[in-house]
């Protein structure tokens, strides 16, 4: 009896209303997305600059742009994305249970997540590191002076473990104050319930930018961990994982090659550069190898812009958040962004 009565009833009610997704193993995720016509993309429940719904209910942000780019590449429609908000605790289960197709939620690429939790990281869209923010009036200039401090920390993330390692390796004691969301941490920190707030440096900068008096707070020079943040898919989802990986690479390569959302329409035909032509599908068969059509990358770039445009539009120096490119500059400018060649 493969279908118990109860589940059968539910399944019928589900199919009728379009609740039930098809079998994840009978056909690939890519085929499902094309059949469904939307991409289910897991994002954070709200992180300034990375993902948040605006007043019209449209999701905006740096991580959101990755989802939109992938949707544009596969479905030719950057708005064909169902954004699924996930918390630090629920994100991995949502992905492994096929509730979402991919997760683009400032998630650190670590060994155990890649191997033990059985995920496949499609690359890095932001090189980050864990930092500390303190009020200027404390007079602290280095994280090594924080012995005995009370530290606000977001629970359910790698930052907890890094913090424990850092303090115990430097023989310092501390008092952790675990909190659930960035908004809460901000309120605690401003009220002085903790001396230090620690999270990814990008998050610290974003948080500091919204204070009434940002200059009253300093980011300490120590970055105590490597936090390569990137989108991820399930193990065994190689076909779809390739699309996510190369969409991300296309955005990075487009910036390196000078392709922008403004010129992506004609540059493919006018340029002499074979790499740009291969990227934009006016030469070669790259799209077909992915199982998509030729101008998949052109669509992604047209939808959200190249990596530099995404960065500047959401978290760059022209936005309230005001992050510098730093490590996230192209390798030609001394950063770490290095897209593999499109050939």
């Amino acid at each position: 009896m493969k279908k118990s009565v109860f589940l059968g009833t539910l399944a019928v009610a589900g199919t009728a209303a379009g609740f039930a997704a098809a079998d994840a193993h009978s056909s690939g995720t890519l085929a499902q997305i094309q059949e469904r016509g939307t991409l289910n993309c897991g994002v954070s429940t709200g992180l300034t600059g990375f993902s948040a719904p605006d007043a019209n209910g449209e999701w905006q942000g740096f991580d959101v742009a990755v989802c939109r780019a992938v949707a544009a590449a596969i479905l030719d429609d950057p708005s064909a994305v169902e954004f699924v908000p996930t918390t630090g605790q629920t994100r991995f289960t949502a992905l492994s249970s096929s509730e979402i197709d991919m997760l683009a939620r400032n998630t650190t690429w670590t060994f155990s997540r890649d191997v033990d939790l059985a995920f496949e990281f499609a690359g890095v869209n932001y090189y980050d590191g864990q930092g500390f923010m303190v009020p200027r009036e404390l007079g602290v200039s280095s994280a090594l002076e924080l012995d005995g401090a009370t530290v606000c920390i977001q629970t359910g993330t790698t930052t907890e473990l890094n913090l424990a390692d850092y303090f115990s390796s430097n023989n310092m004691s501390y008092e952790p104050v675990p909190i659930e969301t960035n908004a809460e941490a901000q309120q605690q920190y401003l009220a002085g319930a903790c001396d230090v707030y620690t999270t990814d440096a990008s998050g610290l900068a974003a948080t500091r930018a919204t204070f009434e008096d940002p200059s009253a707070h300093v980011l300490l020079p120590e970055i105590i961990s490597k936090e390569p943040l990137g989108p991820l898919v399930r193990h065994g989802d190689n076909e779809f994982g390739d699309i996510v990986r190369w969409t991300l690479n296309a955005l990075v390569a487009a910036e390196e090659l000078g392709v922008t959302s403004a010129n992506v329409g004609e540059i493919g035909n006018t340029t002499e550069n074979p790499e740009i032509r291969r990227l934009l599908g006016t030469e070669g068969e790259l799209g077909a190898m992915l199982g998509l059509d030729a101008d998949w990358a052109a669509r992604a770039i047209a939808a959200v812009g190249n990596y530099g445009e995404v960065f500047d539009g959401n978290i760059g120096e022209s936005t309230p958040i005001g992050l510098a490119r730093g490590l996230n500059a192209q390798w030609t400018d001394g950063g770490l962004l290095y897209a593999p060649p499109f050939r």
């Binding site: 109860f6 605790q89 424990a164 390692d165 675990p178 009220a191 002085g192």
Partner: protein
């Protein structure tokens, strides 16, 4: 159902399983049993299939791995090198602590508010109504967050205590510091601790002295002595009651004997151990020394107590109103004082109505303590059911342990309270 006497010596037919009332109930039960077992088997086999498809196994060995995260409030020794299992135990103890504190405070609050709602003072009655309705009709989660926020916004920071003219100062003779990170109160320490004392290093002009410390053995000893004292006090009380039954005269000074039986042995133990108080003082970022009651604990404790207290207030009010007015009048006619009337006539009768719903409020409070996550109080939901599951990816095992813990706790509370309830009930005629 009307059972007709069937003619005897009839051979058994299959149709009797449906039409004969003697067998019908059995048939129904067997069918239901088979269906439920099929359903359960379906769930279990699905779980096995899905786990194997994901390449996950089912084992609890992760509890022996290094946890790697820190917990701020630990009632037992714990560091980030300890195991996940130990982290779970720390969480369990924190849950039990806040649940116990909450139940006690909620009862006190609830009884006070319930009695005050019946007060003939119009303003007090209305205020209590506002309190009860406000807490009953707004989600607990909001209350927890709001109370926590009020505490962090409203109290001074530790660094406000610094300087020549500090913005804030300690209260109760410089022994208690109320900050927005928690309340620091003096701690009981011993110069002749059972755990052994260290000597402080001699410096110029300061002789080496014993550093007072406290260990688990000290507290165990005190608690054992206290328990024995209470037992002795109960025994004295019974003896007094028996004597009164026999002779009609209460032994004089019974109350003092009972109090002495509790206080004197504990006092002797404290003197023998050399008890002193360790006062909190401001060092570096925070106060050190003393006991640190963290804001997360206080906020959760307050919110749970106030919220559950509002429900208990209603229960108490209904219980008191359920005792008929004639009882009050009768006891007044006997010439009893109002306080006697309340204690000897009304409350014993109201208790019978109060206790059963009170049990379920205690259970609710214990279960609601799982909202601790909202203020970063590290209870079992945040350690075992939160960080551990998140770091190890063992959802099934972790949730099973978590659910099992809450279930056992609930059943134990129910059982203990039911015993008490039955002891109250026995006085019914």
């Amino acid at each position: 159902m009307a059972t007709l006497s069937d003619p005897p010596a009839e051979s058994f037919r299959l149709s009797q399983l449906i039409y004969d009332t003697r067998y019908r109930s059995l048939t129904i039960q067997v069918i239901v049993f088979i269906l439920i077992m099929l359903g359960l088997w379906e769930l279990v086999s699905n779980a096995i299939q899905n786990l194997s498809a994901l390449g996950k196994d089912f084992d609890f060995s992760f509890l022996g791995n290094r946890a790697g995260y820190d917990i701020n409030q630990r009632l037992i020794e714990y560091s980030n090198d300890s195991t996940h299992g130990r982290a779970a135990v720390v969480g369990i103890l924190n849950t039990l602590l806040v649940a116990f504190l909450g139940c006690v405070t909620a009862t006190i609050l609830g009884v006070i508010a319930g009695v005050l709602r019946l007060s003939n003072n119009w303003i007090v009655g209305r205020l209590m109504t506002v309190y009860v309705e406000g807490f009953r009709n707004i989600p607990l989660l909001l209350w927890i967050i709001v109370i926590f926020a009020i505490m962090t916004e409203g109290m001074p920071q530790p660094r406000d205590f610094r300087g020549d003219e500090p913005e804030a100062s300690m209260i109760l003779g410089d022994s208690v510091a109320v900050t927005n990170r928690g309340v620091y109160i003096p701690n009981l320490v011993f110069t002749r601790s059972l755990g052994g004392n260290e000597m402080s290093e001699a410096a110029d002009g300061v002789e080496a002295a014993i550093v007072p410390s406290v260990s688990g053995a000290d507290w165990t000893l005190i608690l054992v002595v206290l328990a024995l004292g209470i037992a002795a006090s109960i025994f004295i009380g019974r003896w007094g009651a028996a004597k009164q039954e026999r002779t009609g005269v209460r032994p004089p000074g019974l109350f003092w004997m009972r109090a002495g039986a509790i206080v004197i042995p504990v006092a002797i133990v404290l003197i023998v151990l050399g008890a002193t108080l360790d006062y909190p003082e401001l060092t570096g970022f925070n106060f050190s020394g003393g006991v640190h009651l963290r804001n997360a604990l206080i906020a959760l404790w307050f919110a749970l107590s106030l919220y559950t207290g509002a429900f208990i207030a209603e229960i108490v009010r209904a219980g008191i109103l359920s005792v008929s007015k004639g009882q009050t009048e009768a006891s007044a006619a006997l010439g009893m004082r109002p306080s006697w009337t309340m204690n000897l006539v009304i409350l014993p009768q109201a208790l019978r109505v109060i206790i059963p719903p009170l049990i379920s409020q205690y259970l609710n409070l214990t279960k609601n303590s799982s909202l601790a996550l909202a203020v970063g109080y590290m209870d079992v939901r945040s350690t075992l059911g939160g960080i551990t599951i998140n770091q190890t990816g063992r959802e099934l095992e972790g949730m099973l342990l978590l659910g099992g813990f809450y279930l056992i706790t609930s059943l134990v509370i129910s059982a203990v309270m039911n015993v008490y309830n039955n002891s109250v009930k026995l006085q019914e005629r």
